[in-house]
């Protein structure tokens, strides 16, 4: 990311994301009509679905950035992968929480082993492991490479997991599972609301990404200065 893009992102993204989020909240609670026969909890869906989509996008970014890092060896890609994984985890948690809040009144249960739910849970576990791995090796070249390997393997695994979990549940139809209420989206106001929520989540993701990357850059700078201070201190020490 070059300097001008960053500056632009720093000034533009926070207010844009906040405005979009406020607009989304307003639309969800005031503007949009409740879908027929769905009850008021159906409104959760306007945040739930865009966040879920952005979770996949975030983990997709992790995979691409990881592959680029292994290929080119540029630390910048590694930073993007790390930041995106963290935000993906945040979003993934939110998907699970909002999903449960919806499932409880709707299906009368907090959790069902529905294919999508299960895939999301496994996704959460994989990337929890990813962040653990990062924490365990520390910010070294090795840690970056290990994380990149997991970032790629995890992404390759997602479709396979999804397939297997889907078969697992459909062959064993123990719990009756309703699909999320996509059928109710005939009203144009609903479509507008969903679109705004999508935009809001995309902006939010980008904003968080920029903030996290800024943090990493600052940490690098601190490390660099610390090294310099240390070198000079040892130089002074031997001269004295």
């Amino acid at each position: 990311m070059n300097e001008s893009v960053r500056k632009w992102a720093d000034t533009f993204l926070p207010p844009a994301a906040l405005c979009a989020m406020s607009a989304a909240i307003y639309l969800v609670f005031e503007y949009v009509p409740t879908a027929q026969g769905e009850g008021v909890v159906q409104r959760i869906f306007y945040f739930h679905v865009p966040i879920a989509t952005m979770t996949y996008v975030a983990f997709g970014v992790v995979a691409v950035a990881s592959a680029m890092f292994l290929w080119r060896g540029t630390l910048g890609w590694d930073r993007i992968a790390h930041a995106s994984a963290e935000i993906g985890m945040l979003f993934c948690s939110l998907v699970l929480i909002t999903g449960m809040m919806w499932a409880r009144p709707r299906w009368n249960t907090w959790w069902t082993w529905d294919a999508r739910l299960t895939t999301t849970l496994i996704l959460w576990l994989i990337y929890a492991g990813y962040l653990m791995l990062r924490g365990s090796v520390g910010p070294t070249d090795q840690g970056a490479r290990y994380a990149a390997i997991l970032g790629i393997v995890g992404a390759v695994d997602i479709p396979i997991i999804n397939r297997s979990v889907y078969w697992w549940r459909t062959i064993h139809p123990a719990v009756i599972v309703g699909r999320e209420g996509t059928s109710g989206l005939t009203d144009p106001r609903m479509q507008v609301t969903l679109a705004v929520c999508f935009v809001a989540m995309i902006l939010l993701y980008l904003w968080l990404l920029v903030v996290r990357l800024d943090g990493m850059r600052l940490r690098d700078r601190v490390e660099e200065l610390r090294q310099r201070a240390l070198r000079e201190a040892s130089a002074l020490g031997t001269a004295a």
Partner: protein, 219 residues
Amino acid sequence: MLALIRKDLQIELRTKEALASLLLLALLMLVVLSFAFDPTSALRSESAPGALWVAVTFAGVSALNRSFVAERENDCLQGLLLCPVDRGTIYLAKTIANFLFMMAAQLVTVPIFVFFFNLPLSWGLVGVVASLGLGVFGLSAVGTLFAAVSVRTRAREIMLPLLLLPLIVPVFIAGVKVTARALADKPLADVAHWLHLMIGFDVVFLVVGWLVFEYAVEE
């Protein structure tokens, strides 16, 4: 590559450590799971495949954990990397060696499993072994890669299962399904899609592992 596999087997035969602990652990898991699932109940044919796969998976993870510990002593992995062979070849050899260990352990585990769960001896067991072969190979393909990674992390004993278990969920589910089918002595044609899934998983992750292994062992 044959030399590499032979070397791993040679070390194993010398120490018998991994194989013994692998066997013992699988056995223990089966015993403990028998308590949990009550193998005398009529439901045993439902719970038996799950018990077998839990035992295989956890014993396998601990065997994988050990597979790079031997390479760490005296920095042997460095010596290996100094040899004029491709890193991908080292990965393939390690994967096959790990696969062979785990399968060797199955030769003992499966009969004991049959006795413990009081299962009929039938041709269905061939299907069980086939599903174990495919599943264990997938476990070995992903596991070898991450064993190389986790061996250099802090708390490596816990790191490997943490990373590995969510990744092998497809193999686990498929293995349980095929095993159940085979134990019921029904034709495997009905679970062909699961077999395909396992084969696909094995191939995909063997290729991915072969491609990225060099990054896992590089300093």
